[in-house]
């Protein structure tokens, strides 16, 4: 038995080594950084340990703006994208002809480059000296006046951001949900049909509980993904997100490290630990809710 234990550790060694060097050490380092006050990038020296970095970050208006933006995007896009994906998946699941074609079409955004899509959204929404953009043409057609979605008011920008995020995260959700729906055995539907179950009740009482594990999986990963959003914002508003007022928490971390105002790994570490705390809390809450609702 003893040699077995030794062998076991031996086999685990490569994985432990890699994980230790590339995951655990950086994680610990981030925590250490976040408590080092007055860290100087050039001389690699610091004054002492304390909570000043956290205090600085939490009082930084740019960080607070980033937190606000992130929360708005998360709270809107996760439920909306999951809901729409569910509707589309239900539709896909109930059609027979051209099903494969539609599945492919709905999956296309997933394999498209974020920045390329961002460019397309710019064309759709941006108001320039030459053109108001396609969206504004539509708004004008319904009698509204043009809005600058990219450089205009906050609500316009956050709207574009949400639409974009929903659009970009849906393909994966549709993929997961269509396969989850296809996995519900026809017998359950037949049984429900013979018993005279209405369509709504069949959906609510049979389909939904059956695919609930997948829905919760999507919600949890959706929350985590949306909290970590950054590239999507860059794709639409460019790299200077603080100026656009559209920064996210991860964007703030990036700026603190490498941006024009960068060179503060301690602030970046503190911000990312705060993000970690938020994501962790939300995920725990999610898991608690899902434990209550996913019943098998």
């Amino acid at each position: 038995m003893k040699t077995n234990g030794f062998k076991g550790w031996l086999y685990l060694l490569p994985a432990i080594l890699f994980l230790g060097i590339f995951m655990i050490y950086p994680l610990v380092d981030v925590i250490v950084y976040s408590f080092e006050e007055g860290y100087n990038f050039a001389s690699q020296s610091f004054f002492g340990y304390g909570l000043y970095n956290f205090s600085y970050v939490l009082h930084d208006p740019f960080f607070l703006q980033a937190v606000k933006n992130t929360f708005i995007i998360v709270m809107i896009t996760v439920p909306v994208s999951t809901g729409i994906s569910l509707l589309i998946s239900l539709g896909l699941n109930s059609i027979k002809p051209l099903k494969e074609l539609f599945q492919t079409i709905f999956f296309l955004p997933y394999v498209t480059n974020t920045l390329a899509v961002g460019l397309v959204f710019m064309i759709l929404f941006k108001k320039t000296a030459y053109s108001d953009g396609l969206m504004n043409l539509l708004i004008n057609a319904f009698g509204g006046s043009s809005v600058d979605f990219i450089d205009g008011p906050y609500w316009a920008k956050i709207t574009v951001m949400c639409i974009y995020t929903v659009w970009i995260v849906m393909p994966f959700k549709i993929l997961i949900l269509t396969s989850a729906l296809a996995g519900v055995k026809q017998d359950y539907y037949n049984a429900a049909k013979v018993d005279g179950t209405s369509r709504f009740r069949t959906f609510y009482k049979i389909t939904l509980p059956m695919i609930s594990p997948m829905i919760f999986y999507l919600v949890i990963t959706g929350f985590i993904g949306a909290f970590k959003a950054y590239s999507d914002e860059v794709a639409i508003f460019g790299t200077n997100l603080n100026a656009a007022g559209m920064n996210t928490i991860v964007g703030y971390v990036y700026d603190m490290l490498y941006g024009d105002s960068g060179g503060y790994p301690s602030y970046a570490s503190a911000a990312s630990l705060i993000l970690f705390a938020i994501v962790f809390t939300i995920t725990v809450i999610n898991l608690m809710i899902s434990k209550k609702n996913v019943q098998y």
Partner: protein, 367 residues
């Protein structure tokens, strides 16, 4: 409730798209199920019995033909309005609901004036659960029950709304041998108690024979024979039915009729008055053989298996179409061999002769 099927036909487009000819699952199927009876739909896999059941339930639409419940033509009535209870082969219990909620489910579907109060619903669910003896498991999930218990829950769920007709698709095939025996008795009892016309599908002839009031034998979508189990067993209309019913299976020989006598090889084994000369298949039930030193049927003995209650005699005969003839005799009877041969006389009513070409039974005059 009487169920009448009239010229029921179901065609499916061929799965292989290169073949344009449809697959005929059920072909011009007509029969009548009297009120309150337990009917076994019996046939080998792929004979269309499940399709027939699904057409009665309304889950499949017949290509042509009519279905009547009593005097109502329900052919165009969707499944949800037919008032049938259906038990699926794999039970299809909702895994996320407790036994109680599974049983309550059909009742909760009722709308408008049919809607029952909560107390009545609960009471009905309790009654149904009691009928199938699962009252103590009401608050468990299906995954916490054994196969047999799940089966009972499925039956309770089908019964709770007092269906006009109860349909069971291979109800016992997922149970082990012992439980199967027990559950089929249960099924019989429940059917007797409720008096609901019940149709069940099975490929197990023993199962069908043991509990059905009537059995319906199907092959390749075509009805072969309907009747009381014993009747069908004793008077099969063709070779298929004769072979399909009975364990051990009937022994089939090549034979011929000459001058009112049945010949197997060179031996005349039996008188068959009134039958014209021709080549025939001879089907002899295992229990038709009586050891008899002066018997006309002579076979080379290969082995004797003693089973306790009775004895199996395994033997060989040149005219036999299989490999080993299996005859079952009383364990008290002594098997005497002569030069390695064993002699039998035959019970005429256990011997059936079939036309060589059509495989239809040849009626013969009573002896």
């Amino acid at each position: 409730m009487k169920v009448v099927l009239k010229n029921l036909t179901k065609r499916f487009p061929n799965r292989n798209k290169k073949i344009h000819e449809d697959v005929i699952a059920v072909n011009d199927f007509s029969f009548e199920i009297p009120d309150g009876q337990l009917i076994g739909l019996l046939g080998p896999s792929g004979c269309g019995k499940s399709t027939t059941l699904n057409m009665i339930s309304g889950l499949e639409k017949p290509t042509s033909g009519r279905i009547f419940f009593g005097d109502d033509d329900v052919t165009e009535v969707p499944a949800e309005n037919r008032g049938v209870g259906l038990v699926f082969q794999n039970y299809a219990l909702y895994p996320h609901l407790t036994v109680r909620n599974n049983i309550l489910f059909p009742l909760q579907n009722l709308k408008g004036e049919n809607r029952l109060s909560k107390e009545v619903m609960n009471q009905k669910a309790e009654e149904a659960a009691k009928m199938v003896q699962i009252s103590e498991y009401m608050d468990r999930k299906p995954s916490e029950l054994s196969g047999g218990q799940q089966q009972r829950v499925a039956i309770a769920r089908a019964l709770v709304k007092m269906p006009r007709i109860l349909l069971l698709d291979e109800p016992l095939s997922n149970l082990d041998a012992r439980l199967r025996l027990q559950t089929r008795e249960e099924l019989r009892r429940i059917q007797r108690e409720t008096g609901i016309t019940t149709v069940f599908v099975t490929h197990d002839q023993e199962e069908a024979m043991s509990i059905s009031d009537m059995i319906v034998v199907m092959k390749d979508g075509i009805l072969q024979q309907i009747g009381k189990p014993q009747e069908v067993y004793d008077h099969p209309v063709n070779l298929f039915v004769a072979k399909f019913l009975g364990t051990p299976a009937i022994n089939v020989f090549a034979g011929s009729v000459r001058d009112g006598k049945l010949y197997m090889g060179d031996d005349a084994v039996m008188d068959v008055p009134g039958v014209a000369d021709r080549d025939v298949h001879v089907g002899i039930r295992p229990e038709a053989f009586i050891p008899d030193e002066n018997g006309p049927f002579k076979a080379r003995l290969s082995r004797i298996e003693v089973m306790g209650r009775d004895t199996s005699v395994l033997s060989e005969h040149p005219a036999f179409e299989g490999r080993t003839i299996r005859s079952i005799i009383d364990s008290d009877d002594e098997v005497k061999t002569k030069d390695g041969y064993v002699l039998f006389s035959l019970k005429p009513n256990k011997v059936h002769i079939f036309d060589k070409e059509t495989e239809l039974v040849i009626e013969r005059e009573a002896q």
